[in-house]
Amino acid sequence: MKTMLDSIVSGYAGKRREALLPLLWEVQTAYGFISAEAVHAVSHTLRVPEADIYGVIGFYSLFHDQPTGERIIRVCADPVCGMHGADTLLDDLCQRLDISLGETTTDGQFTVERAPCLGLCDHAPAALISQRGQGESAVAPITSADSLVDGTLSRVAPSVIEGELRVLLEGVQPDHAQSLADYGDYAALRKALGLSPEAVIEAVSQSGLIGRGGAAFPTGRKWQGARQSASDVRYLICNADESEPGTFKDRVLLEGCPHRLIEGIAIAAYAAGAGQGYIFVRGEYPMAYQRLQAALDEAHAAGWLGENVLGTGFSLHIELRRGAGAYICGEETALFEAIEGKRGFPRIKPPYPTVAGLFGKPTVVNNVETLCAVPDIIANGAEHFRNRGTKDSAGSKLVSVSGHVRRPGVYEILPGLPLRQLLEEQCGGVEGRLQAVLMGGASGTFLMPDELDTPLTFENLRAIGSTFGSGAVMVFNDTVDMRDVLTRLAHFFQHESCGKCFPCQLGTQRQLEILKRTPLPGDTQRLHDIGRTMTEASLCGLGQTAASAILSAMKKLPDVFDRDTHDGHQQDNHADH
């Protein structure tokens, strides 16, 4: 008799290692875990050693190698959900089910875990539910532990989507995705295909568009780099692995206007000379995944994707991939490893992705928001785009505002808007008295009340030692214990460090241990040395920024560390770099 496992695995006959994550996802969803028997079958089908498969399962948080409950409930306890009672909720949940965190009830019904930021900070606290046989769904805001157990909560409240203008967010409704009929023709793609790829690159370079994922690299130059790399095959990847705590603007784009993204991808692929595209969406964004798949199908059926688009000879196939619970896969080379069916370890650079990326081929990786900006540039011209914002921060920008403001949500702004105006005029003002703003996400820096007049631009933020980063703006009023916030950030990095390089693998653990305890003499100096070592010696961007908020707090919120200044070490060399 053919078992369910047989029928899952047989669907992958003839495929290779790059099909590993999709296949493991199917097994995980069907059984709630991936057994030794399943690994054996997968190993034979994809011709991957069993030990390697086991190592992959062990790397991704959403995969399990031991049985789990029918329903896995994962509650976010990162800073914003933490401020909204996530700890109490987790306690209630465990008490009601009579288990400890990470355990499964004896009747096999429930498993409870703590999740990293789920990108639902505007409706904290949030949870991700995995229902065996059905898959994932996100719920927020959670009203009670009971609602998670009863399953009476089933959806996410729609996000506030506002701002000074609507370009990226044009036509986006908070509660449903734009269909192709709503979005209309891919007119910008049609126009691009009438131009040479070089002309498209030139337009994007002239527009001044720089990457919205956090690294702020000029988009046109990236495309140019890949196009110039000699190769018969090139790839275009949309990085939709948005996982930076406090960041949810890509989720709103993915859920709200998937066609704008697909059109942007098609234009980028044409310009860079890529015939194969991937969208890598984090496993914690089930709604985005479903809506993207539906939109890809529509676009394909309408002839905007596939072979010989509009009879121009340009062909593009896009494969939708989902992550399996690993923040590190937002790092572009770790993302390649995940698509290739491996543990998500970042690679040594160089070689850079535009030279040797996915499967060793030239690859462009762009963030969701970056790609969503492209159709407007092509349709209305570089000049039009450039005229918005400032010279070094061209085009409108999305920010995710969460925490103590009256209306948390995603805001489209013109760079140059002072932070004060964003908070007071756009977001309805700060709730209570402002203590600090964490700018740029967990790997960002703190801005204090006296810095609220800083114009929100890449250059102004850089000038004061801060960063736009992912565009996350987390607002904390004076009721918040900032040491608790730092501890939650440290927990995030400890949980998400891939473990490849020593400074981050060891440093994220020690950093968390120190912040969790009653300070010992010398702890501030320890945190400082760990932080500088991770920043300067880690292999990838995660490790290099894993202490960013903590080092920033040492300068701006010294009271948080005051309990440890009687040991004579003081922060005398904190300002040495």
């Binding site: 030794a36 690994v39 050693p49 069993e50 030990a51 390697d52 498969i53 086991y54 190592g55 062990g58 790397f59 190698d65 690993a326 543990r343 040594i348 160089p350 400890q494 949980h495 998400e496 460090s497 891939c498 473990g499 490849k500 390089c501 020593f502 400074p503 693998q505 060891l506 440093g507 994220t508 653990q509 020690r510 241990e513 305890r517 010992l520 320890r526 040395d529 760990i530 500088r532 070592t533 920043t535 300067e536 010696a537 880690s538 292999l539 290099q544 770099h577």
Partner: protein
């Protein structure tokens, strides 16, 4: 790599000309500069994991791993300055708080050289693992494992293509394992011994060496392994 092209750079104030593609480590060693390494091994793929070999290139924002970073023309490299020392010292101190380094004298010597404080991180959770004695040839004590990856690499595509080993877990909880932690005897392991040869600490040890260190005689050790084999045989 076109080795006919050469480039010139400065390492610790000394000018050196090397073929293009030469790593900073190779160039520094050519000059007699002492760049320390832990995970690096001539016979395995370099992954730049331990970061003990980081050096300062042009005072850049981040330090560069000398084992994998290629020499750049005109670069000014410092193999040991304040930033480099702080990173090396802190990595050593954190490593020492996580791993039993008693059988890694080379790392011990680095601790001394960089004035690393063995007690720098009090109350730190160590990576404790039970000794694994599951085959007649070698024992595994992952409490002594620094995660240099070399055993996994030689078991896989760097040498043996056996793929008995993998890295499991993530972050601080990363560890070397067989699939589902099965005993070596049930894994694809062919007992080639290459993993033991590249282990930089005492994490992997031939059974005979381990037994002698425990004060057992050759006969006693032989008997232990024979009994185990017989038992295994009878189980089947």
């Amino acid at each position: 790599m076109d080795t006919s092209k050469t480039i010139t750079l400065t390492i610790d104030g000394q000018e050196v000309t090397v073929p293009e593609g030469t790593t900073l480590l190779e160039a520094a060693r050519q000059l007699g500069s002492d760049v320390p390494v832990i995970c690096y091994h001539e016979a395995t793929t370099s992954n730049g994991l331990c970061r003990i070999c980081v050096v300062d290139v042009n005072g850049g924002r981040v330090l560069q791993p000398a084992c994998v970073a290629a020499c750049q023309a005109g670069a000014a490299v410092s193999t040991r300055n304040g930033r480099v020392e702080r990173s090396r010292r802190t990595i050593l101190e954190m490593l020492n708080s996580a791993v039993d380094l008693s059988a890694a004298p080379e790392i011990g010597a680095l601790m001394t050289d960089y004035q690393a404080d063995p007690q720098r991180f009090p109350e730190a959770a160590a990576r404790d693992h039970e000794l694994m004695d599951d085959n007649p040839f070698y024992v595994r004590d992952y409490s002594q494992c620094v995660l240099c990856w070399r055993c996994v690499q030689v078991c896989g595509s760097d040498a043996q293509y056996t793929f008995a080993l993998t890295l499991d877990g993530r972050g601080y909880d990363t560890h070397v394992s067989t699939a589902f932690s099965i005993p070596m005897t049930e894994s694809p392991c062919v007992f080639c011994g290459q993993c033991i040869g590249v282990c930089p600490t005492g994490a992997l040890k031939p059974k005979i060496e381990w037994g002698l260190e425990k004060g057992l005689s050759h006969d006693e050790i032989r008997q232990m392994t024979r009994q185990k084999r017989r038992r295994k045989h009878m189980d089947e």
